[in-house]
Symmetry: C2
Subunit: 311 residues, 2 copies
């Protein structure tokens, strides 16, 4: 499709053409000043934006360019999962240092793979020269009734999808210069958004929810603050990837699993449908304190994930 992109001549536009050429059928309406789309009748629009900066959110020596593109888009799409929204598409703004120019097609391939995985179209893009690699992804989805962080009620149970700790285990090994075990590497370099799972959970009565991006401990506090409730969690119930301890599971960020509250959910039905776990890890209480219990006693879990020293 690259030869059909109606842009004038010039180096920047050649680079954009090269990038768009990799997006194949995922691209829609690019070439105008803006892209045009329709949303399902009756749905509300759900939008979010997220930026990934080199050496703040990722390190180039730990990931391939494809994985960097994939993860940037996945992190943004996960905010649609957090709202139980159906992805429509995304806009992809890349600030590119000269040294990265040759890797733009690979970055684009990764972005495309992440978008295709959830049937999102690439609705627009922007490419600019810059001193550091930075990728801002804005996602657009829709939902008839979005799932919010607000809505948890005392007496609700607290659930988390999947198994936590993989990204933290990978980061610990990478930081120490050790080989990363494959199961951790997969969770770190190719995380999966829980788009379909989120819609199921919302349909089955989830009262509030978000995605685990800052780490379960930090995100639990966000949910509690928004719903103006407290949370009491059992450390030993946290679903852990093999080899990770409970503290690692509680702190591991960029998981993109879902943390939801509901009066009651059918975890077995969830697992039959999606092939991953849904684990009851605690309960919503009145007040505003968020506590972890370790065999009945309060445990100090600490703050949220901070990538590796960046914001």
């Amino acid at each position: 499709m690259s030869q059909e992109i109606p842009l004038g001549p010039g180096g920047e536009f050649d680079a954009i053409r090269a990038m768009l050429g990799r997006l194949g059928e995922t691209a829609s309406g690019i070439g105008d000043d803006a892209s045009v789309l329709e949303i399902p009748r009756g749905d509300q629009l759900v939008v979010s934006t997220d930026t990934a900066v080199e050496n703040r959110h990722f390190r180039a020596e730990w990931l391939t360019p494809e994985e960097i593109g994939y993860r940037a888009v996945t992190a943004a799409l996960s905010d649609l999962a957090a709202m139980a929204a159906r992805p429509i598409g995304l806009l992809w703004a890349v600030s590119l240092p000269d040294a990265w120019r040759a890797k733009l097609p690979a970055l684009s391939d990764g972005a495309n793979e992440a978008a295709r995985a959830v049937n999102a179209k690439i609705l627009g893009g922007n490419l600019t020269a810059a001193g550091e690699l930075s990728i801002t992804t804005t996602v657009i989805g829709s939902a008839y009734r979005p799932l919010r962080r607000e809505g948890a009620k005392p007496g609700d149970k607290l659930y988390v999808t999947g198994e936590l700790g993989g990204p933290a285990m990978a980061l610990a090994a990478l930081t120490a210069g050790r080989k990363v075990e494959a199961r951790y590497q997969a969770r770190f370099s190719k995380p999966v958004t829980r788009i379909h799972e989120a819609r199921w959970l919302a349909d089955e009565g989830a009262t509030a929810g978000l995605d685990v991006s800052d780490g379960l401990a930090g995100d639990a506090r966000h949910l509690a603050a928004a719903s103006r409730v407290g949370l009491r969690m059992q450390l030993d119930r946290l679903p852990r990837i093999e080899g990770a301890d409970a503290m690692t599971a509680a702190r591991s960020g960029e998981e993109y699993e879902l943390l939801v509250t509901a009066a009651q959910l059918d975890a077995e039905a969830f697992t039959r449908k999606f092939g991953i776990r849904l684990t009851e890890i605690g309960e919503v209480v009145s007040g505003d304190s968020v506590t972890f219990l370790d065999r009945g006693r309060p445990a100090e879990v600490g703050g949220g994930h901070d990538h590796f020293g960046g914001a």
Copy 2:
């Protein structure tokens, strides 16, 4: 409203709260993973994204922080004007070096002013630490029938709004270290998007259009390429800001005026309604050549605006 933003504790969130506190009533639905909005029934959604990077798209010594925030948002909103779309809102992603941290409120004030000027809401934001200041603005609007770059037909006339050359005259003075005349400074530091003008032009029969961001000469080529037509323009008809010559007017970028084609438009009615000029500057021809005539002879105008050496 800052105390009502439901986010957990931590330095990053404190900074976001400080930023959002400045946005006042313009903000909507911030605090969840994504924001929720509705679009007018029957309209199509129109979306676009744009990035401004320090020392590529702007220089901090030439603009106040408010002006930097204002211009970043205005540049993105102008892509909605280019499509004759009504702005709904925008998402604002800021990559912030430590040295800029204290200026974040001023940047936000400028963004807010640009959004309010066209009744756009701030729908979401992202703030991250970074090595260079970079602002990515994603705009969301809607239109029943968007104006596109494609659609110009041989025989159509070519029109441009306003007066060109102000930003180029300001940049020339700034680059040379000269004082900038007030009329140029106003066009450079506080450009205006032609949102309402664009909808009027579309309603009155514009067949194609875009905004002048790369310079009239460059943008005319984009329009011609998309519509698969040629354009013939008269250099001496270009509407110029006082003191600018025709070549400057043809090359000046970041104007955010509109370039549209139509069988015929009523320029006097336009000026009565909006208080700015609408000038017929040429015509659409068959073929694919874009030419400027200077008293009947072809003139070499050169390529588009390139900010000042950045992409």
